[in-house]
């Protein structure tokens, strides 16, 4: 109660705060906690510590640059999760079940895409002839060229990345359609929970089939990409592409031979630090995700199919009565959801630089967290939820050790389920 009042003081009227606390205690509690977190972040940024007796209550040390990096990391991972979550949210709203196999659709897409990317890179580097099996297994066999021999990165081998992305999407669409035909279509009228259990079966079969074929190793994928670093150099803000250039510039002045661009901004005195570092794979993920999301937005809002999908999500019987071919809408759902799942799997593996058969399963709960946070069934909710979950698991590192950051994201999801089970965009189905 006192906390709620504390955070509410700045909103002005004490009476309105009291009415919120009395009528919507949960909202007040969340507001209070949120206020505390923000307050603590501000204190930390200012390097200010609030003590009560011997116990440090709020504040501490947090460099502004670190917060910026955490935010960027959160947005990158969050967009990947949001992209992956769209399909989960769509199957939930149109087929009315929580698809536990969704994570393994993501893994399937990632493996299919990366197999193609490796084959193309192998062709480019002349490693193809002896190593077809090795390359097609994304390095699952014991001997063959390493990922640095292949040298896959966005700028160096754009064709491999693009082809991989497309194949990842297409292969996952095919997989989703086949599985729908074999598993889910015979159960169309079953309850959500029966479908959920069946999807667990699909998840197990799919994941371990991937393990059987590709092996259990966690393989490195790329040669590491280009990066762009924004940093302060003795009061000037500069763009460089190597950490070493920045250090040289800070100590001995701007180097002549390396990439170094000084930005025309105000002089910040003696400010010298690395502000933020952005890699090419991160940019690839962000740009591709945003493009795909915008494409989906156009599809849902501007086309007849999108209208039919939204109608089916709203009320399947009514949609059928009005002449919407619901079975075709279901297929379209799998096509869109599966395609985005496969693409997100490829991009997430690209961003991490590693791939193992557990990729999707480990991500699945985070994706569920994102989708539920945004309001399960809502496509836009899935995107927003993904970014929020990404930010949560990233910024939570300010307070808790990294081994618990995933647990923190799950805890946030559980709290959202308890406080607002419909999620942030609740009630809006695929709108």
């Amino acid at each position: 109660m006192t906390n709620a009042c504390m955070s509410g003081v700045d909103t002005g009227s004490l009476a309105s705060v009291r009415s919120v606390v009395v009528e919507r205690p949960k909202l007040a509690l969340v507001g209070a906690l949120g206020g505390l977190v923000v307050l603590d972040l501000l204190f930390r940024l200012a390097g200010f510590r609030l003590f009560v007796g011997p116990v440090g209550l709020l504040g501490g040390e947090l460099a502004f640059e670190r917060l910026l990096t955490l935010l960027w990391d959160g947005i990158v991972v969050g967009l990947g999760i949001g992209l992956a979550g769209i399909g989960l949210s769509m199957t939930y709203s149109i087929l009315r079940f929580a698809n536990f196999a969704h994570g393994d659709y993501i893994t399937s897409g990632a493996f299919a895409g990366w197999a193609v990317a490796w084959l193309i890179a192998g062709f480019n580097t002349g490693n193809l002839s002896d190593n077809v099996g090795y390359l097609a297994l994304v390095g699952g066999a014991p001997e063959g060229p390493s990922s640095s021999d292949l040298g896959i990165n966005v700028l160096g081998t754009p064709l491999a990345i693009l082809a991989g992305l497309v194949v990842a999407g297409v292969a996952t669409v095919a997989l989703a359609l086949v599985l729908d035909r074999v598993v889910y279509r015979p159960m169309r009228d079953a309850e959500g929970i029966s479908l959920l259990i069946a999807s667990i079966g699909v998840a197990l079969a799919l994941r371990y089939l991937i393990n059987f074929v590709f092996g259990a190793s966690n393989r490195g994928l790329t040669a590491g990409g280009e990066r762009l670093i924004l940093g302060g150099v003795n009061g000037k803000i500069a763009l460089v592409n190597k950490r070493s250039t920045l250090i040289v510039a800070q100590n001995d002045g701007p180097p002549a031979d390396a990439f170094y661009v000084e930005l025309p901004v105000v002089d910040l005195g003696a400010y010298s630090a690395e502000i933020i570092s952005v890699t090419s794979v991160e940019v690839t993920l962000v740009v591709t995700s945003l493009l795909l999301m915008y494409g989906l937005h156009l599809l849902l809002q501007r086309t007849k199919l999108g209208t039919a999908m939204r109608a089916t999500a709203d009320n399947q019987d009514l949609a059928r009565v009005t002449g919407i071919p619901t079975e075709r809408v279901v297929r379209a759902t799998w096509v869109v959801g599966g395609g985005l799942a496969g693409a997100s799997g490829f991009l997430l593996a690209l961003e991490r630089g590693t791939l193992s058969f557990n990729l999707g399963w480990v991500l699945l709960l985070l994706i569920f967290a994102a989708v539920i946070l945004g309001g399960i069934g809502s496509v836009y909710g899935a995107i927003v939820g993904g970014v929020l979950i990404g930010l949560t698991s990233s910024v939570s590192l300010v307070w808790i050790p990294s081994s618990l950051s995933t647990a923190a994201a799950f805890a946030i999801m559980i709290f959202v389920l308890l406080l607002k089970p419909d999620g942030l965009f609740g009630g809006v189905r695929t709108a």
């Binding site: 598993v183 929970i193 259990i197 699909v202 059987f212 092996g215 569920f368 081994s403 799950f410 805890a411």
Partner: protein, 470 residues
């Protein structure tokens, strides 16, 4: 529809035989068939068939059957009786085991514990699991089934990640609270820990009482001597060609069977009580139960706690008896929950006998069966070395040579076992979601339903035992 149907129908024809006797008969017949099958497996297997190997293999099968039957019964209370879709079983098991370990590990251990006796640990482990269950249940039970599923599986991941976190590898309780009353510290520092990835040694564990029947020094049999009982029993078995460790495991398996019987009895009692009738009403239609004046939330919380306590006990008997635990143990992986679910669905949710049968069929045919079959195949077909990758295995197939692929399959049978499990799960959900015995009717009245002529009106006043009749 299937063989199981006709079998169940045939049993239903024994109108006058008591139900429990039929159930015991059914379980005995199933176990008998399984034993026969695995005896045959042993004889055609690589080790060959002797009395010793047969006993060893049947002991393994019975051990896993008992463990799964135990867990499936506990889950049956949640999913079968009350319709609570809890897929965080592994998490509650882990809570039970770690609470047990922290309570019983001696203070000199690494990580240190409290050094309390075994029975305190067991009760504490069950209580801890029940409490965590209550914390989950209090708010989560308002949610729809699929949300409850996600919350429970997320909770089990939170538990696993927390146990794995080095943050709690070893810590000291009350370290900063040095309040003294007349020179005596009221909250003394207590050193505890989870050991994180290094795991925990559990010297005081449920296998010790069993070993103490045979050995004077149960925690290290080699250092002590055999007791009088041990001399007779072990001597007799070893003379018959059974290894000593197998005999000790056999004794522990007997203990497990006793616990299964206890769980079964408890569930039957719960199911037939007024409490159990409300649970079944909640499963069928919570709204109706609610409008009849039952506080369904309270019922759900209580049954969730009870089930979690049983899961905690199951976890202790399963994991702690190994004398060591760590968070990556197969017992706590999320997959374990799905194993138990598959076993329950095979047997039929809502049926206790079905739960035991499901545990037995799962443990023998799906869990251990593939391992036996793969060993036998590689022995009989002389498959040779396992290819190092799928590419090396699939290549010769194009030259019509399937040997390497078979060898690869036999070498990676554990992965294929999961695939089989998934396929079975999908098949069951499509074709027989009520499992083997889930379709049976259970009498829900507390008074004998026998009319004046002594006929039992079998279908009147009966509640569905599972998902409903076909």
């Amino acid at each position: 529809m299937s063989a199981a149907d006709t079998l169940a129908d045939r049993f239903d024809r024994f109108e006058d035989t008591p139900r429990w006797l039929l159930d015991v008969g059914l379980i005995a017949a199933t176990m008998g068939s399984i034993y026969l099958l695995f005896t045959i497996f042993t004889f055609v297997g690589p080790a060959g068939g002797t009395f010793g190997t047969v006993v060893a293999n049947l002991q393994t099968i019975t051990f896993w059957t008992a463990l799964y039957a135990m867990m499936v019964l506990a889950l049956n209370l949640h999913w079968g009786y009350t319709g609570l879709f809890n897929i965080g079983v592994a998490g509650f098991m882990a809570i039970g085991v770690y609470a047990f370990a922290v309570l019983t590990v001696p203070p000199t251990g690494s990580p240190p514990g409290l050094g309390l006796p075994l029975w305190v640990g067991i009760i504490g482990g069950m209580l801890a699991a029940a409490l965590v269950g209550a914390v989950t249940a209090l708010p989560a039970l308002r949610l729809r089934a699929d949300y409850l599923a996600i919350v429970t599986v997320a909770l089990s991941e939170i538990i696993r990640l927390t146990l794995l976190s080095t943050k709690f590898e070893s810590f000291t309780l009350f370290a900063n609270l040095d309040y003294e009353v007349r020179g005596v510290e009221i909250l003394p520092d207590v050193a505890l820990g989870t050991g994180a990835g290094r795991g925990m040694n559990i010297p005081v564990n449920p296998s010790i009482p069993v070993k103490s029947i045979f050995y004077t020094n149960p925690s290290n049999p080699a250092a002590g001597e055999r007791t009088a009982v041990g001399e007779v029993v072990l001597g007799a078995f070893v003379n018959a060609g059974v290894r000593e460790t197998v005999v000790v495991s056999l004794a522990y398996t007997l203990l497990l069977i006793g616990v299964v019987a206890l769980f079964y009895w408890l569930l039957v009692r719960v199911g037939n009580s007024p409490f159990g009738r409300v649970l079944k009403a909640i499963r069928e239609d919570e709204l109706v139960a609610n409008s009849l004046g039952k506080d369904t939330r309270m019922f759900k919380i209580k049954v969730f706690m009870l089930g979690c306590a049983l899961m905690g006990l199951g976890g202790i008997l399963w994991e702690a008896q190994r004398g060591f635990t760590d968070p990556t143990s197969t017992t706590f992986r999320p997959i374990q929950t799905f194993y138990i679910f598959v076993a329950l669905i095979i047997g039929g949710a809502g049926s206790n006998t079905g739960s035991v049968l499901g545990g037995a069929l799962f443990a023998s045919l799906l869990f251990q069966g593939p391992l036996f079959v793969s060993r036998i195949l590689s022995h009989l077909l002389n498959l040779g070395d396992t290819p190092s990758s799928f590419a090396a295995a699939i290549g010769p197939v194009f030259a019509l040579e399937v040997g390497p692929l078979l060898a690869y399959a036999a070498g990676n049978i554990e992965e294929l076992r999961f695939v089989l499990l998934g396929v079975v799960l999908v098949y069951l959900m499509q074709n027989r979601p009520q499992g083997l015995l889930g379709h049976r009717k259970e009498v829900a009245a507390s008074v004998p339903l026998i009319d004046r002529d002594g006929n039992r009106p079998r279908d009147a006043a009966a509640a569905d035992g599972g998902e409903g009749d076909e």
